[in-house]
Each structure stands twice: as structure tokens, then as C-alpha cells.
């Protein structure tokens, strides 16, 4: 089923329209508007409690906004998620790496973990095996194929979780603070993969506080604060000393 056929502007992936959200008496986001286009590498930056993760949760349908809409490929995300068939299509196209990877790994071996998604897509077993091996190759994790994900180190767990997302071949990859708790080397390794994925056309949306490490990768930034979120291009951020100061402090 394709509900995006009537969409003229295929470059627009996510459109956020007048989005408002709050927890009880605390207003988090107030009438937020911006668009994320295909192929962009967008970093969500802002203070803690600024609404970055909240927006990600809303994009996945786990939180419901008070007003406003989120559109994916021209259709409301609610519409995508209300239909079981479309919902699965949406989840194949929009992959997510959660901040707490322990919740994302539940299979008994690394192989099964990565093959979990492709196995549901009626892909021949041989191709599934190829995909799993390719995903392991990207991170250099082939030696861990038969290991139990639960017993891996924090960095390895994150890479396996990302490999299991990549195995679905999503168009968009949402990353909720993927660099937190990693060594400098591991952060560099992950960022290299993110850069490669973006270069082959994947749209990356990443929540991060490491401006210094992502400033050459990100094509755009969404800066959260004061119940608002403003999208800026890399040039706008780098050329505006005030903006540069703000994002550096996040």
C-alpha cells in the first residue's frame, strides 16, 4: 500500500506543523514548525528538557501532541500509525536507535538480533544471511556473531543495535543521543558510519550534545529552547557567533 503517491514534493520527508506539547502544567513545545528533507543530516540540539526526545517520541507515535501535526512523506504520521499495514511500512522506512540500547536487544545471539527485522520481510534466508554479514562488516563485529547481546560491552551493544536497524534498510534513521557514554574512539567510529550512511542517501536525525564532533557532518541543526525549535543550516550556525556560542554550550 502506498499513501504517498499523491505527494508532489517527494524531497520533504518530515514536516512539523504548529506542534504543541506539554506535560500536565509544563509546556515543552509551543507551535513548532520546520521541515526535514531527504538526504539531510539533522542534529537536534538544545538544553535538557528542551523537547528533543519528546519530539522524537511523537515522530514515532509513542507520545501524542496536544495540537499540530507531523507529516511523513506528505501524510500525517497518525494516519501511518493507525493502520497496522502502514505502520509496519513506516517502521521499515523510519529506523530508531534508542538511547538505552538494553531495551533494544532481546534476542539470544547477535545474528538473531540483526536478522529479526529482515526475517519478517519475507526475504530469502540466503539474502538475510548476507544482510546480517554486511551489517556486521560495517562495524567490524563479525567475531561477535554468535555472542549473546546482553553480555556485550556498552559500545558493542550500541553498534549491534544500529546494525539491527540498518538491516531493515530504512530511509530515515533517528538516533537518540547515540554518542553518550562512549569513548572518543567509539564516538568517532559511529560518526564515521553515520557520515557514510548520509553519503549514500540516508536521512539522519540525531539528538546530540557533541557539537564539536558533529559540526562537519551535520547539514542542518534544529535548535531547541524556550518551548521553540528553529531549523538552521550548517552555514547559518557556523557564521553566526551568537548561535555558535549557544550550540557549543549544549
Amino acid at each position: 500500500m502506498d499513501i504517498t503517491e499523491n505527494t508532489n514534493d517527494t524531497e520533504k520527508l518530515f514536516s512539523i506543523h504548529n506542534l504543541t506539547f506539554g506535560y500536565q502544567d509544563k509546556n515543552v513545545l509551543n507551535e513548532v514548525n520546520f521541515t526535514i528533507n531527504r538526504g539531510e543530516f539533522v542534529c537536534f540540539m538544545g538544553p535538557n528538557g528542551g523537547g528533543k526526545s519528546t519530539l522524537l517520541q511523537m515522530m514515532l507515535g509513542f507520545l501524542k501532541q496536544q495540537s499540530g501535526d507531523i507529516f511523513y512523506k506528505g501524510c500525517n504520521v497518525t494516519e501511518w500509525l493507525n493502520d497496522p499495514q502502514l505502520k509496519r511500512e513506516y517502521h521499515q522506512q523510519v529506523g530508531i536507535l534508542f538511547q538505552n540500547v538494553d531495551i533494544q536487544l532481546f534476542n539470544s545471539t547477535v545474528y538473531d538480533e540483526i536478522a529479526f527485522g529482515p526475517k519478517q520481510m519475507d526475504i530469502p534466508e540466503e539474502e538475510i544471511e548476507n544482510r546480517v554479514n554486511d551489517c556486521l562488516n560495517i562495524f567490524g563485529l563479525n567475531h561477535l556473531k554468535e555472542n549473546v547481546p546482553y553480555h556485550l560491552s556498552g559500545g558493542e551493544k550500541r553498534e549491534v543495535a544500529l546494525a539491527s536497524v540498518l538491516a531493515l534498510n530504512p530511509d530515515v534513521i533517528l538516533l537518540d543521543e547515540p554518542l553518550v557514554g562512549l569513548t572518543y574512539g567509539n564516538r568517532a567510529k559511529l560518526l564515521r558510519v553515520f557520515g557514510q550512511l548520509n553519503h549514500i542517501g540516508k536521512t539522519i536525525i540525531m539528538i546530540t550534545h557533541y557539537f564539536d564532533q558533529v559540526k562537519d557532518l551535520a547539514t542542518d541543526y534544529v535548535i531547541f529552547g524556550n518551548h521553540d525549535a528553529q531549523k538552521k543550516t550548517r552555514a547559518q550556525v557556523l557564521e553566526d557567533p551568537e548561535l555558535l556560542q549557544i550550540v557549543s554550550e549544549y
Binding site: 500500500m1 499495514q85 534508542f98 538494553d102 546482553y150 531493515l168 557520515g195 557514510q196 548520509n198 549514500i200
Partner: protein, 277 residues
Amino acid sequence: MVSDHSSHNDYESTTDSMPQWLIHDENYHPNSVKNSGLLKSEGIIVKLLDRLQAESSVSKNHRLHPVTYLVNLIVALFILSYTSLVYVVWAVGIIEAAMLITLPGELLIKILKRSFWLLLLDALVYIPSFFLGTFNWLFLIKMFLILIASITYASSTSVFDFIIALKQLHVPNFMIFQFDIFVKHLHVLGMQLLQMLHAVECRTVGDSRSHRKLWSLIVGNLYLQMVELGKELFDALEARAFTGKYAYMVHKIKSTDILVLCADVLAIIAVIIIQIH
């Protein structure tokens, strides 16, 4: 070093290692599928978590002391279980009605609705006694009052109120500690399970056929995480030199509390006197 890989041009050489299937669009359209039972469980977990975290639905001005609520519940349950005298049951009914009318309208309707539906379930179980000739209306009335008392307590107080009440009633610290840890664990467990279900949902792109296997994997993983968390929790308590003594916020006793507690004491004395005579 990041700087070695940080510009877009640098990726052109390294993206050769990316597999072809990842470069092309997937063009995947799932076959007709239904929402699995696994994903439907999310709603139940969310409700349970909300209940554990919920503050009292009664505003601070109208709220009684946590001990008053607990004592009133225990007295009502004790009298209703103990007595078979109609006028004692009515007396308890009047006390409960007096408690109910102090609650906000919305909460009152919610309590009555829940009590009614639960009574209906009890009545269904009780139907055979009608044909066996052992049917007793008083039993159903008592059941209704017990339900109202329990649901009123659950709706007007939070888990924290219950812990405060236990502390002020001088329940041994180790029992409060066990209960407190149990509730906290239950909450963390619920949160973890909910997040795991979300993660599974995000990777459910087709018909995941073996739901039972998936459940066993999730529960197994959750168990391992909880064991680890339990150890960390005890270590953290030890590190903070926890002695088993609980600090709690002091609640003022209002005139309404005294009134309700007096009514409870009088009700118990009345039942004892009637029983003696």
C-alpha cells in the same frame, strides 16, 4: 581521529564498503497484517505505570490525613466482614456516603461506576446461590460497600500516602522497606517493559509469527536486567549508609480527620457492644 573522517568528501572513498542493498531504496510493502497481542499489551502497562505514579485525585485542601484514609478502610472492611446485622451495615454505608460526598464530582462518579461494574461481576458469580436457596441480599450490599470503600481508598490516595500511613502506624521499618522497594522495582520494571515493547514495535515490520517466543525473550531479558538493577539498588543504599529509617513529610491532622476517626472508633465500639449483648 574524527577530523580524519569529518568532511563529506572523505566519505566518498569509504562508502564503497557500504553494501548495494543499503544504497538502494527498499520498496517494501508488507502483506495484510493485524496488530499483535504483544503490542496491545502496551496500554495495560501504561495504565499500571500511571497508577503507581499517580498523585491523589483529591485536592490538597480536601485531602484527609493518609492515616485517616487507611484506618477508615480497615474499620469498614473489618465491620462489614464481621457483622451480619442490617443496621450496622447501614451505619457503615452512611459513614462511607459521608466520605464520598467530600470528593470531587468526577471522582465520585468514577468510583460509583467502577463499584457497580465490579458488583455486577460478583453478582454473576453469586447467581447459583439464588437457585440453591441460599441467596442473601445483605451479602451483595456488603460486597458493594466493600468495593466502594476499597475503590475510594485507591482513588483518593497514592502509593506514597500508603507508605506514610504505614510509617505513622508504627509498622516495622523492614516491612515498609520491602514494600517500598517492591513498588519502586515494579515501576522500573514496568517502564523497562514498556520501552522494550516500543523497541519491538519499531522493528516489527511484518508478521512476526512467534509471539510466544518473543515474549519469552523479552521476559528473560527483563529478568536479567532486574537482577542487575536489584544488586545496584542495594549497593547504592549501602553506599548512602541507609539504616532502615524512613524520613517522610509530616501531614497535619485536620478537624475532618478527627471526625472520621471518631466515627470509626464509635462504629467499632457499637459493633463490640451489640455482639456482647
